[in-house]
């Protein structure tokens, strides 16, 4: 453990400039006192922080702290769950995503999602998977789809290995490739924000490394919000970090939000320090 912490610090110390939340630049999404409840039972609450543009924001915390629940509120996936209620305010580029002038389908094309388990559509080919989002949104022109498919697969570092077999069923790919396909599928819509719910938890270490490398390159074009169980991963890849913890009444709450550098080296809250040092969780 001692050694791991050292490594983490080492990685983070490569960042030359200490960036405080105040000077992080443009804001992609704003969360203001966000809470999610299911049938009146609060699952996560008190979440107020800004997701900065072109940075990777990680949500960390032990099981049950409401990380995934919070993430799913950001593209309104809770709309499907009977009894789910999201309160507070979440805005995308200044527009309230629940009450503002933004349809849910439009929101989801602007805020994409990658899931825990690689989940390409099993009945579709690699190509059809990548362009499925465009097709859902009414784009039929083949030239446009072809162009987007290639660009998205290149962005997901998958083009070289699949360009010769685009018509093959997506289920023939390995787990890591499938997850990259899911990333390409989300990127095809050119979203502003990409939500990732423990995207590497079902993958082997090598595939995990590939996805992490990918995230670092992706943030130049898309803002990433990632839920992770893996603290080292959060330290390696994220710029900002939100630490959530389950409260006394079993509802998750935001304990601290800051740059990853500060969360892992010099947090304000002692619970954050205990968690990042692996004293619990």
């Amino acid at each position: 453990m001692e050694q791991e912490i050292e490594i983490m610090t080492e990685i983070k110390s490569e960042t030359t400039q200490v960036v405080t939340p105040a000077v992080r630049g443009a804001i992609a999404m704003q969360l203001n006192n966000v809470a999610v409840a299911f049938h009146g039972r609060v699952a996560v609450r008190d979440c107020t922080f800004d997701v900065a543009k072109n940075r990777v924001t990680s949500l960390i915390g032990p099981s049950g702290s409401g990380k995934t629940t919070l993430l799913r509120a950001l593209n309104r996936l809770h709309d499907l769950t009977p009894g789910a209620k999201v309160s507070g305010q979440i805005s995308l580029e200044g527009t309230d995503i629940y009450r503002g002038n933004l349809t849910v389908t439009e929101l989801r094309t602007r805020v994409g999602m990658v899931f825990q388990r690689p989940n390409p559509f099993p009945t579709m080919s690699i190509y059809d998977n990548v362009v499925s989002g465009l097709r859902f949104n009414g784009i039929k022109k083949k030239a446009l789809l072809d162009e987007s498919a290639e660009a998205s697969l290149r962005s997901a570092a998958l083009w070289d290995s699949v360009s010769s077999r685009l018509k093959v069923a997506a289920s023939n790919l390995s787990g890591g490739e499938q997850q990259r396909l899911c990333i390409a599928r989300a990127l095809a819509l050119d979203p502003e924000v990409l939500l990732m719910d423990e995207p590497t938890s079902a993958l082997d270490p090598i595939a995990t490394l590939h996805i992490e490398e990918l995230m670092k390159t992706l943030k130049s074009r898309v803002t990433v919000v990632i839920v992770t169980h893996n603290m080292q991963q959060a330290a390696r890849i994220s710029d900002d970090c939100a630490f959530l913890l389950m409260g006394e009444d079993r509802a998750g709450e935001l304990i601290e939000f800051d740059t990853t550098e500060k969360i892992f080296n010099n947090p304000d809250d002692s619970r954050t320090l205990d968690y990042t040092l692996g004293r619990f969780g």
Binding site: T105, T109, N119, P122
Partner: protein
Amino acid sequence: MSVDQIPNAGLLEYEAVMVGDKPTVTSRTWYHWLLLTAVILFAAVSVGFVGTIFWSSFPTWAHHGFTLLTGKGWVSPDGPFGGLAMITGTLETSLIALVIAVIIGLGTAISIVFFIPRRFRTVVATLVELLAAIPSVVYGLWGLLVIAPWMEVTVNPWLNSWPFAKGIFGSPGQEFGTSLLLASVVLGIMILPTFVAISREVIAVVPQDLMEASLSLGATRWQMIRQVVLPTAKIGLLGATFLALARATGETVAVALVAGSVANAQFHLLYPGTSIAAWIATEFGESQGKEISALMALGVLLMLVNVCLALISRALVNRQRRILAKV
């Protein structure tokens, strides 16, 4: 590892693992012999059942051969016995019934899974499935007393107002209103619960995260259903279709009541006709000698077809399960 993949370890394998290389059955008590007797009895009855039917039908296959499949007339009691009317009647009624059941049933199954509020979902699903428990003679009576008059007044004239309708449907106005079309409609309603029950299950097990993935790409609910859920469930839905078809081809009493029991090989759907199962039921009472054998031969045909349909259905539903296990 899903439940399906867990090897079906019987008692003997278990003991073999526990004791050593060779299975050692330690105690053969009375229930061991009771179970063995039950199994042997069951096997004997099954073999005897299938065997006697094949045996009794043998004279017809030997003497008439394939004219049973292609012959047009059915003359009691000495023949010739032609099964074409029954075979075409079975095909026509079953396929039309299948079209009715698949269209209404798919809509019902999708609604139950996606559109009916959770509270009422179980109630609606149970009600639909209870329809399967209604005895078929009741469906037959209802078809004859309620649907037949309605079709005579409303549906048949409307059908005949189409161009070329006479060629397809024939003239309406048969006595009692019995017809192949009426049989198809009643059959369609009868096989609906089977189709809905299986297709609902097949649709309900499509993984949640596939649906969420499509919604996260900006799909509407309807696009999600049409482009992700139904294609993913396609093989299982085909299995449901085959099982519904097996129900339709095997249905007897209701068809016997509403089809009209006329052994005419024709395609005019508003004329009376019959199916293999219905013909066996209506003719058996008065048959003797050669005719019994001919009816048995029809029975063999029906049995083989239905066993095949049921096997295909089962294979498809299993394949769907394996596909989803991999997803």
